[in-house]
């Protein structure tokens, strides 16, 4: 019994403490730090933490230091809901950031919207996320937009017409494929065949054999670095030498490590330009690699961007009123690591798509797609 009383007393003290720490501004952050998505989670966390450190060194939010409240959501919707509730209710964050995948982000978005706390998704692709309401924003592309950019890249820039589509069977891969197929005919692309694989697959022997028999002009394959690495290396080993076009899921030095020489010449659509001349991007890359000790990736840049959007809005609003903060986010016009960020009325980002290519074992600039009509995100 006595231990129990002690426990209650201790709990009361612990709970009482945050009330005194009112001279800081809290930013909530749900991110997968364990489970299958932990690698991306670690990059995103490094990106967000860097942004917070930079902002705190530069006066925080108008004199108040920023406190980042981090929870591990394991990229799982059922973890994300209690975490989001905790962030808005007991932690009382001024704004939330998701460094997680679509399932978890979508689940958390509803909670933030309900509580009237602004929430920014750093790199989740599902179109439903921003439809949770007017407090939810996204600083990365919805899958469809990037899929359409992929179609333009293959059909127009590369001039390849007979394409095999290899799709990762989850919301990321499916929405990319949907965007790609929607825009394909516009660029004269004929889809010779489509194959799907599961996120657990690393051995693609059967698909590779079939693609070899299909003899396409180019391959549009969705995936993350840990599926795309083995896929690309197996396609090349089987003698399939046509262009392979991927997306931001490939965007990691790990992809090049896994696929080795086979990664040379692989082209992707993404948010980060490694050879950027823009100082915000150049500084971010240099600082990130110094802090994290590994090469930058799209997820890290997206986390950093989302955090800067949040910080900038908090500074501008200079208020604890969540509606004022929301309005400041909505009015964002910010040069960030992943480009010039502005939102449409649904809270979707309007920015250019960066095209990168693997050259001599590193990601490099290939081109930029800036066709505003093609890249228009959903507005309602």
């Amino acid at each position: 019994m006595r231990t129990f009383v002690k426990f209650i007393a201790l709990a009361a003290i612990v709970l009482a403490f945050p009330a005194h720490a009112a001279d800081s501004v809290k930013i909530g952050f749900n991110v997968p730090l364990t489970g299958f998505a932990a690698a991306d989670g670690n990059s995103a966390r490094n990106g967000v933490e860097l942004a917070i450190e930079q902002a705190n060194a530069d006066g925080g939010i108008n004199g108040k230091q920023i406190e980042l409240v981090v929870y591990d959501d394991q990229a799982s919707p059922k973890e994300a809901v209690p975490i989001a509730t905790k962030l808005v209710e007991s932690d009382g964050v001024a704004i939330g950031i998701s460094g997680s995948y679509s399932g978890a982000t979508r689940a958390a978005a509803g909670v933030f919207q309900e509580a009237g706390v602004p929430y920014i998704s750093a790199f989740a692709v599902h179109p439903e996320i921003t439809k949770a309401g007017d407090f939810v924003f996204r600083t990365s592309f919805v899958g469809e937009v990037q899929g359409r950019a992929g179609a333009m890249l293959i059909g127009k820039s590369l001039g390849k017409k007979k394409v095999v589509v290899i799709t990762l069977k989850n919301d990321f891969g499916k929405s990319l494929a949907a965007g790609f197929k929607e825009a394909a005919s516009q660029f004269g692309i004929e889809i010779a065949a489509e194959y799907e694989y599961s996120i657990k697959d690393r051995q693609f022997g059967p698909i590779v054999s079939k693609v070899k028999a299909d003899a396409p002009d180019a391959i549009y394959a969705s995936g993350y670095f840990f599926t795309a690495g083995p896929l690309v290396s197996q396609l090349r080993a089987a003698g399939v030498d046509v262009p392979i076009i991927g997306q931001e899921g490939y965007d990691s030095q790990k992809f090049i490590e896994i696929a080795g020489a086979a990664s040379e010449g692989v082209i992707i659509t993404t948010s980060l330009d490694r050879d950027s001349k823009v100082s915000e991007t150049k500084d971010f890359i240099a600082q990130f690699e110094k802090r994290a000790g590994f090469k930058v990736d799209m997820v890290a840049a997206s986390g950093h961007t989302a955090a800067w959007v949040a910080i900038t809005a908090l500074r501008k609003a200079d208020s604890t009123d969540k509606a004022a903060i929301r309005d400041a986010v909505a009015a964002t016009k910010l040069q960030a690591a992943t480009g010039l960020i502005a939102f449409n009325k649904l809270g979707e980002v309007k920015k250019d798509v960066q095209v990168q290519v693997v050259k001599d074992g590193n990601w490099h600039h290939h081109s930029v797609i800036s066709d505003a009509k093609l890249l228009a995100p959903p507005a309602e």
Binding site: E196, K200, R202, Q203, I207, Q234, A237, A238, I258
Partner: protein, 288 residues
């Protein structure tokens, strides 16, 4: 031509299944434990393989270190986890095993990092032409060779040595075997050592084939290998072999021709259900 290619790819997948499922079927045959944590030993093998190779540049060293170390780790799992609860109902060991597997997965993530490790310079990366435009990667050929070698060695061990005789006697009737002076403890240790060493070889092979060893690489084997040993007739080695290769080939064709409807795992489990409906005892039943 395509069919031949798909069959070949199915056999490669089957060979990987052999390396994982053999150890599992050995454990089940002897102790009637569904040893989920076997998949964690497989992952450990993958890590030891890639770390050893990146340090020494020798693939032989990878196997020479991964197999015995993981073999000993397997014996440790038996001593520390299974032995104290052998008298409990089988589900107790199963739950302990699942718990151990989940712990191990997160431990790999903490110790080796979440990104996974790749071979610094990928060994066996070449391609072997088999005529008619058919090719296999050297690593794929090595996986098949490794599976065949394991089968042969296991067969020799169990039929040509005294230890093997004691082993088979214990599987058939542990009490009778003990009364003839067989050391049950020794047989169980051997069993876990051999099974776990095979899993380690499987882990090194899969790490090579994917050029990626990641904390979650045991996730698929943890349940797929279960399906395989059920399919093979729980505890039957020939049954397990038939199950491995037939599942590999069925998945290979299925992922192309049924891929839009079912993914690879769904195909595997649909096959399992069909087989169990027709032959509830599995493909090759164990004589009781």
């Amino acid at each position: 031509m395509l069919y031949l290619d798909l069959t070949l790819q199915g056999l490669v997948q089957g060979a990987i299944y052999v390396l994982i499922a053999l150890g599992l079927t050995l454990v089940y045959g002897l102790l009637r434990i569904l040893h989920i944590a076997h998949a964690a030993l497989f992952t450990l093998g993958g890590y030891l393989g890639v770390i050893t190779f990146n340090a020494t540049g020798s693939l032989l060293a990878s196997f020479a270190i991964a197999m015995p170390v993981v073999g000993l780790a397997g014996m440790g799992v038996y001593e520390l986890v299974y032995k104290p609860i052998l008298s409990k109902p089988p589900f107790v060991a199963l739950i302990a095993s699942i718990g151990l597997f989940i712990c191990a997965e997160e431990l790999f993530r903490i110790v080796f990092g979440p990104y996974g490790i790749s071979y610094a310079s990928q060994p066996l990366a070449g391609v072997v032409p088999l005529g008619n435009g058919l090719t296999l990667r050297t690593a794929e050929l090595a996986a098949i060779a490794g599976a065949v070698l394991s089968i042969v060695l296991l067969w020799l061990l169990s039929t040509r040595t005294r230890l093997g005789l004691a082993w088979r006697a214990t599987v058939t009737d542990p009490e009778m075997a003990e009364s003839f002076g067989v050391s049950i403890a020794q047989v169980r240790h051997l069993n876990f050592f051999v099974g776990s060493a095979l899993a380690a070889a499987g882990g090194v092979m899969v790490g090579l084939l994917n050029n990626l060893v990641e904390p979650g690489m045991g996730a698929v084997p943890s349940y797929k290998a279960m399906a395989i040993i059920v399919l093979g007739g729980l505890g039957s080695i020939p049954g397990t072999l038939v199950a491995c290769f037939s599942l590999g080939v069925i998945e290979s064709f299925g992922s192309i021709y049924l891929g839009a409807l079912l993914d690879r795992d769904a195909i595997a489990f649909a096959f399992l259900i069909v087989v169990l409906m027709l032959r509830p005892q599995g493909l090759i039943a164990v004589r009781q």
